[in-house]
């Protein structure tokens, strides 16, 4: 959390509307993105984003800065998502925690053909948008909102192992989605 953000939070806690507006400006895109990836409806995502900030304003005096402000906002928006999608919470809890080790993250090694690479990227982006909601939520938090596994676990109030398992399984599903494309490359 930057010094500027800390100052804005302190001012907003004392009731400064301008400071809170600056915080809304800063974070709304990420909150909206998270809501949209989960509910998949623009209007509903806008509603959720607005509601998140209204609740954040009400609860701001209780924000002690133990977590990052953005993590705190994501916790509010995911709780609102749980209300809209009652099965989401259960789906996340049912992921289990059988992947306890760190998931290795390889550096991008560009495929030989640029066309193949672009095609794969488009195909995978499509596959990401078609993942189940619990996987979309985890993947969005990890890769788009750039949270660590620990921060995701704290935001969703889930064990760390469950978060790792969820992301591991999301990747496995994406890997499966890649299979037909690879076959077309090898047969071409």
């Amino acid at each position: 959390m930057s010094d500027n953000e800390t100052t804005l939070i302190q001012k907003a806690q004392k009731g400064d509307h301008d400071a809170f507006a600056a915080l809304v400006d800063e974070h709304q895109r990420y909150v909206y993105n998270l809501a949209l990836r989960v509910v998949k409806d623009e209007n509903e995502a806008l509603d959720l984003t607005q509601e998140t900030f209204v609740r954040a304003w009400t609860a701001l005096p209780n924000f002690k800065g133990q977590s990052q402000f953005r993590t705190w906002l994501y916790r509010i928006v995911t709780n609102l998502c749980y209300n809209r999608l009652p099965n989401l919470r259960r789906s996340l809890n049912d992921l289990g925690d059988d992947v306890m080790e760190d998931i290795p993250e390889t550096k991008f090694n560009a495929p030989a053909d640029e066309f193949e690479s672009n095609e794969a990227r488009r195909h995978l982006h499509q596959a990401i948008s078609q993942l189940d909601e619990q996987y979309r939520l985890l993947v969005t938090m990890r890769y788009q909102n750039e949270l660590s596994y620990e921060e995701i676990a704290a935001s969703l109030n889930l064990p760390l192992g469950t978060v790792k398992t969820g992301i591991f399984r999301a990747k496995a599903k994406l890997r499966n989605a890649l299979a037909p494309l690879e076959e077309s490359w090898t047969t071409a």
Partner: protein
Amino acid sequence: MDNRLTHEQEALLEDALNSYPLAPMPRSITMDVMARIQKDSRPALITWNDFVLSLAIAVCVGALFFAVQNLPPVMLTKIRIQWILLYQDFLVNARWLVPAVMFGLAALLSALTIPTLIQMTANRRR
């Protein structure tokens, strides 16, 4: 599937996940949020609703107390007799209600506490 392919797949996945674009916002919601928070001020320690409800309950309890204090002794005795008869009737005809009520209370207490305990255990594991 050889290692080279797996590594390439991983690389493709990481690239796709990292390049998945943030959704653009259709419009800024700052004005809407600010309009709403200007209307809904933060709740004080107790709201007017809490105050009025507490006052109503206090008035009812006070009224009941004064009513009992000022009832004629004959009526008080009659009420006491009716209460004893009801209690005896309960002991004779509905004794089974005692364990049923106890079991119900235990179930209610469990329902209120067990989810919280599970949550606390999960947090500790984390």
